[in-house]
Amino acid sequence: MISDSERKQLNASAVEVFGTMYFTPVELLPELPARDSWQLEGQYVKTAISYAGPRQAGLCFYFPRSLAVSVAGGFLGVEEAAISDQQLIDTMREAANMIVGNFLGQIDPVGECALGIPVAEVVHGFSPDGVSQEGELLTFISDFGFLWMVHSV
């Protein structure tokens, strides 16, 4: 289970990345939101990245497509309607890379762990119940709905 200090560090990393690079506020919720507020339909950009070494973990993000479109549009300076799935994938891979790389810099200041290469795909729908066995489910709130993340060790 992710510790309180790691939660804070992960939140700080996500806030910094989304704030600095994408001008989009996000915040890690202290606990899972009420089930009746879940909006799980639609597409997500599923992005997985891991780190290994003395400490190891996998983090899998489920970015709502609307969030990914807004971020990619602003980042690339292109009309949102013109953004391709590949651009969404590429942008969110980079976002996950930055969040976890920044997080790793905090929990592993000596640099003993190696960050993996992120892998992303566009998926239809998302089920928190379906991934809860894979690890601990965390939720970020954004202007575009919930950003889900599974933390597994």
Partner: protein
């Protein structure tokens, strides 16, 4: 004097953003080349002279640290300044690349102003070196040209 710039990152999106940032910085760019990893970057360097390289660390095939080692082993390429732009923010990693001969290290996420400042600093030093060899050329950027 225009500078040839190579950006090495496995993210096409990030390469595009860095390209835009460099264009906005006011630096006079001659040729702008891109590579998706260290191996591709070495091929670019075999093909064309680059005045500065901006590279990520964490890339498939060949990462930025291995790329830097290869550059430093090459008598022709070893003086090309290599700037790292990476998510890997541990002090140990930064110390490692600086000890290997990196010209600078920029942490992601970054503000465009940071890239501009570092690039101008590194290019000014490279310009001084080239001036010593060639003489008579304008500086890397005009004072009122930067667009931030």
């Amino acid at each position: 004097m225009a500078f040839n710039i190579l950006v090495v990152d496995d993210s096409e999106t990030m390469r595009a953003v860095i390209r835009k940032t460099v264009a906005m910085s006011g630096v006079q760019v001659g040729e702008f080349r891109e590579a998706g990893n260290g191996k591709e970057a070495l091929l670019v360097l075999e093909d064309a002279w680059m005045d500065v390289v901006l590279t990520d660390i964490n890339m498939p095939e060949m990462g930025g640290v291995e790329f830097l080692r290869e550059v430093k082993k090459n008598q022709v390429l070893r003086n090309i300044p290599v700037i790292f732009i990476s998510t890997e923010s541990s002090q140990a990693r930064m110390d490692e690349v600086v000890s290997l001969g990196a010209a600078a290290y920029i942490k992601k996420p970054f503000m465009p102003e940071k890239i501009k400042a570092v690039l101008l600093d590194v290019l000014t030093k490279a310009y001084a070196t080239r001036m010593a060899a060639e003489g008579g050329a304008p500086p890397p950027v005009a004072a009122d040209e930067a667009d931030f």
